[in-house]
Assembly symmetry: C3
Amino acid sequence: MMKQAFHTLTVPSRGPGLYEFTDEARNFVRGEKIENGLLTCFVRHTSASLLIQENADPDVQKDLQDFFAWLAKSGPRLRHITEGPDDMPSHIRSALTQTSIGIPLHKGRLALGTWQGIFLFEHRDAPHRREVVMHLVG
Amino acid sequence: MMKQAFHTLTVPSRGPGLYEFTDEARNFVRGEKIENGLLTCFVRHTSASLLIQENADPDVQKDLQDFFAWLAKSGPRLRHITEGPDDMPSHIRSALTQTSIGIPLHKGRLALGTWQGIFLFEHRDAPHRREVVMHLVG
Amino acid sequence: MMKQAFHTLTVPSRGPGLYEFTDEARNFVRGEKIENGLLTCFVRHTSASLLIQENADPDVQKDLQDFFAWLAKSGPRLRHITEGPDDMPSHIRSALTQTSIGIPLHKGRLALGTWQGIFLFEHRDAPHRREVVMHLVG
């Protein structure tokens, strides 16, 4: 008999960059005692997104941050500037990455590769508390 | 006992930009009488894509359209020009955004944040009728 | 009664570009005798990703490869160069595309549009054997 589980994770951020929550996702899955299924992570914001990336060398995360900061500010002049100069570039960075990620769970283990970590990608300058909804079916 | 439901939504477009279908997704979910589960939206095209973005200030949508129009035409010379100058840039814009999005459904409500809307992102100049397949399991 | 199935596909690559595995995905689904459900494809790497794109004109795939090669090397100077000059650009290309894709399965057919194929997007220069985990629930 298949079942489902939900958990809302709060990820505190302190400026733009990647914040890993792989352990929190693993703990949620382990606690539900589901061995096989699908984990979906969904971020409830339009100026923060999700990314699965290398969690070994911290330089990868710095380079990703620098690349997206550069790209989002390289385009045509922006209209939506009500909340400051980091506002619209944050929406662009979100659109270029992902709002939801699905990860299979097989024999009690998430299908993540050896170097893969799950990250919240914060795009705003100010500190935020970001919500990631996790759904597990299996 | 878990069950499933399917619905194919047709989204008419009139040139490049974002077309919201959040209400249509909510109506589909409500009609199926499933309280908890996962909604997956999938676009059946390679020159239109899906995006979850801010639905408050329309300038956000204009800025996103301008940014992706600029980016997709800033690269090296394109070979695939059979269907006109907006053809290959449309594939690039699709590749940079998303073909499928998964949204958890909890206690009868989609996990969307306050400002999040679900959009079809049209990349072609001519009007189209785009198909979005919605799958609900719960 | 709903059930699940898993399959790990190995996709061999010979340099950067798109490698289609639509047939392998269809074969997996057909073999499981599930008529309605959701197929999730997940790539277990951070320097290769997934893309649904046009599978008709091979020029589309060449143009996508050239565009992402250009974009990933157009940004600020990169720190993470331990594994060679194609290393960090590969992570950037992965971040710009997708790690997981969900495709509804209805009446025995994947919801793919007429021209849509499922591709592994290889970003590294050297040949690799890439793992794609497929999960089916239905």
